[in-house]
């Protein structure tokens, strides 16, 4: 509303300027939650609930041997000398390929986890560990959002993301195996770094 105590407004130079000066509106709260629920409902329609245990078991049965095989085949990436040698070679293409592979692996694991996670069989401790995983994943995602990351930095962050998701998938499979036997996951002997 116009304030009579203020000096008269300067007319905008044109309609573009007048419209551009209008504020951006705040959307009602909870919009993302509603979208997320509708995405879940769409997924539910595509994959009915009764298929989840079968899908999870099948996915884990496929994923674990493949992952073990990859672990056995993969070169050890963590040593500084190996990293340095790689950087001196065809760093550009190699790094881009590695990032693409890590992104694909990350997506596969995340899809697997979406099926595997089931709040109905979670103990309090397991749920707390899950929250820890999610928080660390969010930290990696935030780091990935930073502008100006070099390819090696991106590659390292994607590697961390994949390792976190693998660890989380391992936890889920153990938890489900225990739940199938009527037991709960109480990881007094497990420590997540």
């Amino acid at each position: 509303m116009a304030d009579r105590n203020l000096p008269p407004s300067t007319p905008p130079a044109d309609w573009h300027e007048a419209f551009a000066a209008l504020p951006v509106e705040e959307a009602p709260p909870g919009g993302w939650n509603a979208v997320s629920r509708r995405l879940d409902a769409q997924r539910q329609r595509r994959h009915p609930r009764w298929m989840l245990p079968l899908a999870t078991a099948a996915a884990l049965a496929l994923a674990v041997p493949v992952w073990l095989q990859r672990q056995a085949d993969a070169p050890q990436p963590a040593t500084p000398s190996a990293v340095a040698t790689q950087q001196q070679g065809d760093a550009g293409n190699g790094e881009a390929t590695a990032i693409a592979q890590l992104q694909a692996e990350s997506a596969r694991l995340e899809a697997l986890l979406r099926y595997a996670r089931d709040g109905r069989v979670a103990s309090g401790t397991a749920a707390a560990i899950e929250v820890q995983f999610d928080a660390r994943l969010a930290a990696v995602d935030a780091a990935l959002m930073q502008p100006g990351l070099s390819p090696p930095q991106q590659s390292q962050l994607w590697r961390e993301r994949v390792e976190l998701l693998r660890a989380s998938a391992g936890l889920e499979s153990t938890r489900r195996w225990l739940a199938a036997q009527g037991r709960q996951y109480q990881p007094a002997l497990v420590h997540v770094d």
Partner: protein
């Protein structure tokens, strides 16, 4: 579908005073993760574009409830089709998303049969389209109220042309009408808006 397929601009509007509120860069890494279906990446994209989409929908539809529906439908469509975005010819992601938002808002109007809210062609050739807006246009509250009182179609045309920088040809394609229709609605809408602002200014000044 109109996405990424609008005709070349034949009558470009003057350059907007500020870039569109949609002009938000999305990093390639975030897009890649969103394409892979990662929920956290999709949420980040939602958060970035939530307010521009809602604002555009509110300006076109005129009601917050309708704008919230358009926001949801737009984002669900963006998520469903994000794998199709290729950025042909260097076109940015935000432009692609904005096109979906405009289509959804106009579709909402058509569904509600509010498209009839046009200003009639009274045979009077408008002459004041290029004239300066009245001083009341500098008051955001007055301008918003005056815009809300316009019929839906001229309000949509005014917003797309002036705020988002669409051409008459593009607006015509979006509204499934002719460029002449867009020009006519712009002129008559501008005239009506000017009159409404003068009334508002008189009432509140």
């Amino acid at each position: 579908m109109l996405i990424e397929s609008l005709p070349a601009a034949a009558t470009p509007p003057p350059a907007p005073a500020r870039p569109s509120s949609f002009a938000i860069e999305v990093p390639d890494a975030l897009l890649a993760r969103a394409r892979a279906g990662e929920r956290t990446a999709l949420e980040q994209i939602y958060r970035r574009f939530e307010r521009p989409v809602f604002t555009l929908a509110l300006r076109i539809c005129g009601e917050r409830e309708a704008a919230a529906d358009v926001l949801q439908d737009t984002m669900l469509k963006v998520i469903a089709r994000i794998g199709d975005f290729r950025g042909r010819g260097g076109s940015p992601f935000w432009g692609w998303l904005r096109q979906i938002a405009v289509n959804e808002a106009l579709m909402h109007l058509r569904r509600g049969r509010r498209q009839a809210g046009e200003l009639p062609d009274d045979g009077h050739e408008p002459a004041d389209e290029g004239a300066l807006p009245p001083p009341a246009a500098a008051d955001a509250a007055l301008l918003q109220r005056a815009l809300a009182r316009l019929p839906a179609t001229p309000r949509g045309v005014l917003w797309l042309y002036h705020a988002e920088g669409y051409t008459h040809e593009e607006i015509a394609a979006l509204m499934q009408r002719t460029p002449s229709f867009s020009k006519s609605q712009l002129s008559r809408g501008t005239r009506r808006l000017r009159a409404l602002l003068q009334i508002e200014e008189h009432d509140h000044g």
